[in-house]
Symmetry: C2
Subunit: 368 residues, 2 copies
Amino acid sequence: MADKWQNGAVRVFNFAAGPAMLPTEVLETAQAELTDWQGSGMSVMEVSHRGKAFVACAAAAEAKLRSLLAIPDNYRVLFLQGGATGQFSAIPMNLTSPGDKVAFLNTGNWSKKAIQGAQRQGLTVEVVADEAESKYTTVPAPGAYTVTDDVAYLHYTPNETIGGVEFDYVPQTSVPLVADFSSTILSRPVDVSQYGLIYAGAQKNMGPAGLVVVIVRDDLTGHARPTTPDVWDYATMAANDSMLNTPPTFAIYILGLVLEWIERTGGLAAMAERNQAKAAALYEAIDGSGFYKNPVAPNARSWMNVPFTLADPELDADFLAQSSAAGMTNLKGHRSVGGMRASIYNAMPRAGVDALISFMADFARRHG
Amino acid sequence: MADKWQNGAVRVFNFAAGPAMLPTEVLETAQAELTDWQGSGMSVMEVSHRGKAFVACAAAAEAKLRSLLAIPDNYRVLFLQGGATGQFSAIPMNLTSPGDKVAFLNTGNWSKKAIQGAQRQGLTVEVVADEAESKYTTVPAPGAYTVTDDVAYLHYTPNETIGGVEFDYVPQTSVPLVADFSSTILSRPVDVSQYGLIYAGAQKNMGPAGLVVVIVRDDLTGHARPTTPDVWDYATMAANDSMLNTPPTFAIYILGLVLEWIERTGGLAAMAERNQAKAAALYEAIDGSGFYKNPVAPNARSWMNVPFTLADPELDADFLAQSSAAGMTNLKGHRSVGGMRASIYNAMPRAGVDALISFMADFARRHG
């Protein structure tokens, strides 16, 4: 079927939440040079991370990220391992001492996991806003919570991947703002200067799994607890250009290709326009269907992850089987939410969203 | 030049210490299916780690590793992130409490880094054997050290990647034996039952950087310090099949292909024969040259990493330039040792070693 072909390659529209779809052009470039990178006679996987070629590759990826996100000079960019889940431990280790207080906004599953990580490191967690009452379908209003000056930082999750809930504003606070950007980074411009620390697993909008990017303000480095593993000590890793030990070289290389692709397609402003339009079209189709439902408050609807339910849950299996047969994969919702979820990250083309909308309308007609 | 072509691909003989050469067949398989894995219309990088296809891929990699190394059933195999350097912290976190005593054999740079990691976690380190006197060109004799029963474990480095120093025996002790196998795993059969814990970064003999494999005896799990990051807690990761969070999926996939290649080429016994023969030929060429020298005691010479010096260090630059032009790359020795180093891991074909020997003889003739 026609949707399966993109740029000549057999490809489906993959709505997975992460690891997620990558731009076909990025994969084709990686494929072309997989056994012979830059005419070296070696794969990028086989070259020394300390050799000139790879050092330049990693530096170029960092420079592109800095340029796209307009990262100020007083922020370090770190390429680490262990995922965002590793950072749930590493952030407390770097920014606090045991017994310190930290504040959290709890908007769903990933907020909760970050809270547990902080508690494991001996912190007193103050949940200053908790959206339990709405079953995590809302974000707290800007005036609905207070952050006192005695907390080490305020942590929040700008986009909850599972719930499909997204902040439509940046929390304002006098303490450093720490944010898990895993499923929203590079989806639009961000004012990095409003944050103390931004972190994001690569496997949604940046590249393959196995890389986590940390963007941290200088003054928040250099205070790690003595037992912090050196591979997670921000000051140590910054001083070593993230190469204290062997970095995940292939993932950094793919990140570089993805960033080039974003530049080539107009940068983050153009990306934001496309993402907003894709999401708007899908939410409109859901809301207007009388068959599908999205539970999230309109102001908090995610551009990246769109959960929806069918009028009759008995039809879920048919929906999944038929959509998959039509070249649209991984639409099953997270087990904690049920129903469907369409993750429509940067690499999901508009054509993929249009194909889904068209399939949904047809399915509703046949079963409605 | 002829050495550049292997299986039709333009490829050099890459003597890098790690990330290192991978089998050309493995790269070609990965290349062929990079945009469409198993007919899914998705790259293996894009599929969900919790989907059936990838779960089967990871399980198959584990099963192949278990089969090749004959790993007993009471050992867990973990696929983690953060490298062997991460494990320098994670092992103390999982196996000890602050203030505990541990014993180390110090045979070079990587032993020292492991010692520093243990000290950072508040352990009292007893270095029961230190090869400083030989400038780390020897291993301690089996009877030359005593390990008391009050240490939590004995740690050693079976192969020192930088010094090219390898143990020709397995230390016998009543406490758990912990070993950094990064640069020697899968080079020959190993009796896993003699170890409490084996760990190895993937980027030498297993796959791309970004994956560290831990093989740990059941009874050593479940005792992690409360502040151990959950992504490094052996019991937690074992209970979650290493998928508490998103694993480095692409690296695990490549590991699976490498393990298939080892099976296909005769398993670890055949690998050991080839490796021993490659190393013997190279050491013989060095020793018989009157121009090159390897400083390591004959019983402690590594099969994997062969450092050597030229009669005149002034010729180093010429040697590197000419060998590189002849399709043999990354022969420069580690800065702490100087001279040259030929890393001849599993994926380095005999033809590569023969080409190097032939080049070395010619170079010596021209400059001797």
